[in-house]
């Protein structure tokens, strides 16, 4: 036993020593070191942390502070598999908490337990997996399940075990070098496409094509944006309009291909006339759920979805292979940057940005040119540039998509900005929750170094710079510039008072330009097409486009890029296709936890910085969650508050305690225990938290409360009077069965709490005392006979 422990200790010590040798001994290496330790052990063993303190400049106090601040780090061993239940906004409004509870029930976990008895699963809530269009979403290890229903949880666990034991053999690569290629099939491989099964579709295609010697490129493109129709196959052949095949399920593809490619005769034919045949086959044998559209059909959901959008940050969307630099260059990539370093002075460049009217897309909307000018004017030996990809808003995945799909565009934007301000070092700050983005940027950076777009004397000029990646460790507050800098410096991500602004004194006290990913992605286009081309899009004060993650109760969700000033109505009705399931449009939540809810009556509002702020909302980073009549606005406010409260760094009083107290008041109200006086205290506290917090997180955290109090006060009052008009707040609702019940017993069989006695062929009843309001009965009832009031 002792020996065993000793061996274990030695193994920890050896591993830690290796990690230290790789990451360095300076105190700012602390986060990368911790990430590496966790990568090895799945958690942070105390002995490992102590070893780090012994052999580096990192102190006990520092390592304790850091490892408990960032939510990525775990201090206890976890189960073999990790179940991540996404509780992002889109998932929340589609019942994520009920899904979470269902997992806990299925795994027999008590109140605070997170790991099952056998140590097989550990369950955790995660802020946002960025798959909002297929909400609710659950990720078990690397397998993502979308559109999860509460009652399907046991099935999902079974499926996971099956999938785990059935690991696919290695996948045949694409046939890019084959001379007989007659076209290409594009498969979107953004995170959400993958979550919807596109990787499997792609694997099946490649395998089948290879086995049958069909020469065609299967191209992995970045996010297509049409997240509502994925997995999406695009067939491109010479001289013909592309054809889309939407919503293909992997097993359907498998079935189709297996059925039709088995015979040799068919394969021979395929060799010559693949496309026509392939197409016909797919159409003939298309399972009912699969939709086929030609791109020139204007009235298809895809065309409608794309109509009204302008692609700047997402230029060439669905066409580029993310890490293919040649292709990026062919489409004009890096031309803007080359033009800048060869033709423009720093001031000329900043002037272009000024005239373009570009404002920061991270939420605040600060004019980019002013920031650039400040950094350029600052006198210092060393200046830095940081790409802020710490997108933590639940319900937002724009940055992730841009980094995954257009790594070179973001790099180019960053190079241009670096040149404009005279930065000598650049950092990509990317959430560790976005592994694909990290991987793609890493690949792209390596290629850029090879091709001398990074490094010394770039492209034969005097300009030299290098970029590296810093992986955020899970703290929403690090989206705030000063907190982000603190975190790179190896500290707890606490914001500090400005001034001084990072532009004057930022990373390592050097002048630092921090721009959001989307902002940087817009820059190459602006330089290439001119300031005027950009400022003619959008409105006078909000120029250009904005990328939004459209999700929630809309028919067609996805990633959209629209001109500033597009109205809420246009986005929801024209692009989104209106509200799903014949429900009534109630409100749209814009800007995530910093934003607000805008009621349906104001849907003519143009989406731009000024208009949104006037209504008490905010552009935020671009989450756009559509809410229908079944969504409770008090619950929405409570949802966002519980997020910000959880993400508060805990430094200043108003944010640390104020958000907690506001949440408690909302909880009291949604339990039906609120009194009128509570609203008064809530409103006052919301105002003082807005005024009294240090950073943007605290200053905007009350927005969801204030905007819902403003537009939906009657819902708060209804709760105080004991009812939840939308039937959401579990403490205020009851489930019952109507006369439509046919006595099929499904509900009784599925009820996890035995609240419905089995009563074949007769009307069933729900015993309210036993009902845990998990919603399973309503979901499974074939007659829609379960009533929630």
């Amino acid at each position: 036993m002792r020996l065993c422990e000793k061996e274990m200790n030695e193994s920890i010590i050896n591993t830690v020593d290796q990690i230290i040798a790789e990451k360095g001994i300076t105190s700012n290496a602390v986060i990368p070191i911790l990430q590496a330790i966790q990568e090895k052990f799945n958690y942070l063993p105390e002995d490992a942390l102590k070893r780090v303190c012994e052999n580096t400049d990192i102190t006990q106090s520092q390592i304790t502070g850091i490892s408990t601040f960032y939510s990525q780090f775990r201090h206890k061993p976890v189960g073999e598999h990790i179940i991540k239940v996404c509780v992002g906004t889109a998932c929340h409004v589609k019942g994520a908490l009920q899904v979470y509870d269902s997992f806990k029930r299925t795994l027999k976990l008590k109140d605070k337990e997170d790991t099952d008895k056998n140590g097989l699963y550990t369950i955790e809530k995660v802020a946002c997996l960025g798959c909002c269009t297929i909400a609710p979403v659950v990720q078990i290890d690397n397998i993502t399940y979308g559109n999860v229903e509460t009652e399907k949880v046991p099935e999902i666990l079974d499926d996971f075990i099956l999938a785990k034991n059935n690991t696919e053999t290695s996948i045949v690569k694409t046939y890019q070098n084959n001379s007989l290629v007659q076209g290409e099939i594009r498969v979107g491989l953004g995170s959400c496409c993958v979550a919807s099964g596109s990787a499997d579709v792609k694997n099946e295609l490649e395998k089948t094509l290879a086995n049958n010697k069909i020469h065609v490129d299967v191209k992995h493109v970045g996010c297509v944006g049409v997240c509502n129709q994925v997995p999406l196959l695009e067939i491109h052949k010479p001289n013909m309009e592309p054809v889309y095949y939407a919503k293909i399920k992997p097993d359907e593809v498998k079935q189709i291909i297996q059925t039709h490619f088995r015979a040799n005769r068919l394969i021979d034919r395929l060799k010559n006339q693949f496309f026509l045949f392939f197409e016909n086959m797919l159409v003939e044998n298309l399972p009912q759920t699969v939709k086929r559209y030609a791109s020139d059909h204007r009235d298809t959901p895809i065309a409608e979805f794309l109509n009204g959008q302008i692609s700047i940050a997402t230029e060439h969307r669905g066409q580029l292979k993310p890490s293919d630099i040649e292709e990026y260059k062919k489409k004009g990539g890096f031309n803007s940057f080359l033009k800048c370093i060869k033709e423009y002075s720093q001031d000329q460049l900043i002037e272009i940005i000024r005239q373009s009217g570009l404002k920061g897309r991270g939420g605040g909307g600060f004019p980019s040119a002013i920031k650039w000018q400040m950094v350029k004017d600052a006198k210092a030996e060393k200046k830095y540039i940081i790409c802020n990809g710490d997108e933590g808003d639940p319900g937002a995945f724009m940055d992730r998509m841009l980094l995954e799909s257009y790594p070179y565009r973001v790099i180019e934007g960053m190079l241009i900005a670096a040149y404009a301000v005279g930065a000598q070092e650049g950092i990509f700050y990317i959430r560790a929750e976005y592994p694909l983005a990290v991987q793609r940027i890493n690949e792209a950076l390596a290629i850029c170094r090879q091709e001398n777009y990074l490094g010394k004397n770039i492209q034969g000029t005097d300009f030299s710079i290098n970029f590296k990646i810093f992986e955020g460790a899970g703290a929403f507050v690090c989206g705030e510039e000063t907190a982000l800098i603190a975190s790179i410096e190896g500290k707890r991500g606490l914001p500090s008072m400005r001034p001084p602004y990072p532009a004057e004194s930022g990373l390592w006290d050097g002048p630092t330009l921090i721009n959001n990913t989307e902002t940087l992605a817009l820059v190459p286009w602006i330089v290439r097409n001119g300031a005027e081309a950009f400022n003619q899009i959008g409105t006078k004060n909000s120029t250009g486009t904005k990328v939004f993650a459209l999700a929630g109760k809309v028919k067609r969700g996805g990633l959209i890029e629209v001109p500033m000033g597009t109205t809420i109505h246009q986005v929801i009705e024209e692009i989104g296709g209106g509200i799903a399931n014949d429900k009534q449009f109630k409100a749209v939540q814009i800007g995530g936890p910093s934003g607000g809810c805008i009621p349906a009556s104001l849907s003519a509002t143009p989406i731009d910085y000024e208009s949104l702020e006037k209504l008490g909302a905010m552009m935020g980073s671009g989450g756009l969650i559509v809410l229908d009549e079944t969504d409770c606005m008090v619950d929405i406010a409570k949802y966002f508050l519980s997020f910000t409260q959880d993400q508060s760094c805990g430094k200043c009083t108003f944010c640390r305690i104020g958000t907690k107290r506001m949440l408690e008041i909302l909880e009291k109200i949604t339990r039906g225990q609120g009194v009128l006086k509570d609203l008064e205290i809530l409103e006052q506290l919301a105002e003082s938290t807005k005024k009294g917090s240090i950073c943007g997180l605290g200053r905007t955290a009350p927005n969801p409360i204030l905007s819902t109090l403003h537009y939906f006060r009657e819902e708060y009052l209804a709760h105080i009077n004991g009812t939840c008009p939308s039937g959401k707040c579990t403490e205020l609702i009851t489930y019952s069965i109507t006369d439509d019940c046919i006595g099929c017993t499904i509900c009784a069989q599925k009820c996890p709490s035995d609240a419905i006695p089995l009563n074949p062929y007769k009307k069933h009843e729900i015993i309210n005392d036993k009902c845990i309001k998990c919603d399973v009965c309503r979901q499974v009832c074939p007659e829609k006979a379960v009533l929630v009031k």
């Binding site: 106090s61 408990t68 601040f69 914001p495 805990g650 009083t653 640390r656 008041i665 005024k691």
Partner: protein, 541 residues
């Protein structure tokens, strides 16, 4: 300096900037400060005091407490004055309603997350507000004389009350939740008994003689108490009583087997030694009152007992349902210079109430005699929480002993031995805060009249006490997370030090890897305790 390191570096690299003077307006008054001065210091230099808790000279602190909020008059925005440097042309407001409201709300939020007592619960539940925990600690150390001094600050007749007081303090005693309350009442009697064994018993030093004379009518608990404190304040007093001996209801209504007359005699003897004059067998008629007492005395204290049916009824004082009308804060009657205490105000109160009122009436009379208007005694802000949770018993017992209450055979008629008294006193849990007099949270909460219950919506946190250190005790739930101690241990290169653990509302300051407090604070203990704005970090003694 208040500045962040970055700010400092910037300034030190620019010497010209350092010497420059900055002009700004604070509360509409033009002022000049050296470049680099924080708004907090600039305001202080201009004579405007701003409350602040998390700021310490020499530390580059992120502002956290938000109590030093001021307003930028140009844009109406609030900001923490400790963290922003004064700049040319600033226009700052430090004291308008919005600023004050914001500070008050910050304090109220901090209070909602501050689990601790300022005064131990026993003290405010004692009508005389005696400092019971201090008395207990002195007894536990065998310092009986000192302990009696503490008692006599609040209670003039500890021996008498030791027999008859129903001890509301013991009902509030937190130890009662664990097993049984500390036997406070008998402990108090013990120190009185010990004192009276001496030939020269304790007589507090008197203030300078005022040459003023006060008449006290009635020698019950209220009258005797008033006399004691008036004498202490330097006045002469004469106590009139209709009976032949002093004590009033104490002597004539309470049975000998509850309160021996000998005890009354002893404490009357103390008063006589102290200088009180008694005039017994004197019925104060209205005529005597008007013609002699009011003429010959500078102030009068009425302590005649029950109002109903007494001669006072036709003296012409304003009266209500239960007795004579008085100012509830100062015990002044409707006639200036005449005060009242005890049952004459409201009958059938505990003797301890009369004793407590006697002291207040004496103090009001003192103010009156000095030509001042008697004022309500200010009761400082008091943080408190409801019951202990079961898991907290152990934490509280860390500062106590597990022994059961010492029960005497004959109850209140009995006396402790010295060993018993010391043992019983050691059972006290030290609920009172060690920084009761210099806790900034208490001082500012008092100044801003903060309501500690305003944000009382959720469950409170669980109290922990870390006492494994020679000098220091750390009570984590009194901490306001200002992080000063963390910065101090870091700056002084403590090997272990203290650390912020966790994030957001659940963040707490604690010791890395669950080590002992003695490992965390080796060379910085004194600095940390002195810098801690609350009672979270305190010296054990």
């Amino acid at each position: 300096m208040f500045l962040s390191e970055t700010q400092c570096n910037r300034l030190y690299t620019n010497e010209i900037a350092i010497k420059r003077m900055i002009k700004l307006k604070i509360n509409n008054i033009e002022t000049q400060v050296e470049n680099g001065t924080s708004v907090l210091k600039a305001a202080e230099q201009a004579g405007f005091k701003i409350p602040s808790m998390c700021f310490k000279e020499g530390y580059s602190n992120h502002p956290s407490c938000m109590v030093c909020m001021v307003k930028d008059n140009k844009n109406g925005k609030l900001f923490p004055s400790c963290a922003i440097a004064a700049t040319e042309g600033m226009d700052i407001i430090t004291d308008d309603d919005e600023v004050k409201q914001s500070r008050k709300e910050a304090l109220e939020l901090l209070l909602s997350d501050h689990v601790g007592d300022c005064e131990a619960p026993c003290q405010p539940s004692c009508p005389a507000n005696m400092n019971i925990p201090l008395m207990n600690r002195l007894i536990a150390e065998g310092k009986f004389a000192e302990s009696l001094k503490v008692v006599k600050e609040a209670i003039a007749l500890p021996l008498i009350l030791g027999y008859i007081c129903p001890a509301p303090c013991e009902k509030a005693c937190r130890r009662g939740q664990i097993d049984s309350p500390v036997s406070i009442c008998i402990l108090k009697k013990y120190v009185a008994v010990e004192d009276l064994k001496n030939e020269t018993f304790y007589l507090p030093e008197k203030q300078k003689k005022s040459n003023k004379k006060v008449a006290i009518i009635g020698s019950g608990p209220g009258g005797l108490s008033a006399a004691f404190y008036l004498l202490k304040l330097g006045h002469d007093c004469v106590i009139f009583d209709k009976n032949e001996k002093a004590g009033g209801t104490l002597r004539y209504e309470i049975l000998e087997n509850q309160l021996p007359n000998e005890a009354i005699d002893k404490e009357v003897e103390v008063l006589i030694k102290y200088g009180a004059k008694f005039q017994f067998n004197t019925n104060i008629t209205k005529e005597i009152f008007e013609n002699e007492i009011r003429k010959n005395f500078d102030a009068i204290i009425l302590a005649t007992g029950n109002y109903e049916g007494s001669v006072i009824e036709n003296f012409g004082f304003e009266s209500g349902k239960s007795g004579i009308n008085i100012n509830k804060d100062t015990y002044e009657t409707s006639i200036p210079g005449i005060f009242a205490c005890g049952n004459i105000i409201r009958s059938r109160r505990m003797a301890i109430n009369s004793v407590a009122q006697g002291k207040i009436a004496a103090e009001s009379a003192h103010a009156f005699l000095n030509g001042q208007t008697p004022e309500a005694k200010h009761r400082m802000f008091n943080s408190k929480f409801a019951k202990l949770l079961e898991e907290e018993f152990e934490e509280y017992l860390k500062e106590s002993i597990p022994e059961n209450r010492v029960e005497l055979e004959n109850g209140k008629m009995g006396d402790f031995s010295m060993e018993e008294a010391m043992l019983e006193a050691k059972r006290c849990l030290h609920c009172d805060c060690r920084k009761i007099d210099n806790c900034k949270l208490r001082i500012f909460s008092d100044e801003y009249s903060a309501d500690r219950k305003k944000f009382d919506f959720g469950e409170r946190k669980i109290i922990k006490k870390y006492d494994q250190h020679e000098l220091v005790i750390y009570e984590s739930e009194k901490c306001i997370r200002c992080n000063l101690c963390v910065d101090i241990t870091m700056k002084n290169s403590e090997l272990t030090g203290l650390s912020s653990i966790g994030r957001g509302f659940t963040v707490e300051i604690n010791i890395p890897f669950n080590q002992l407090l003695s490992a965390a604070l080796t060379k910085t203990a004194i600095d940390c305790v002195e810098s801690c704005p609350t009672g979270a970090l305190a010296f054990k003694k």
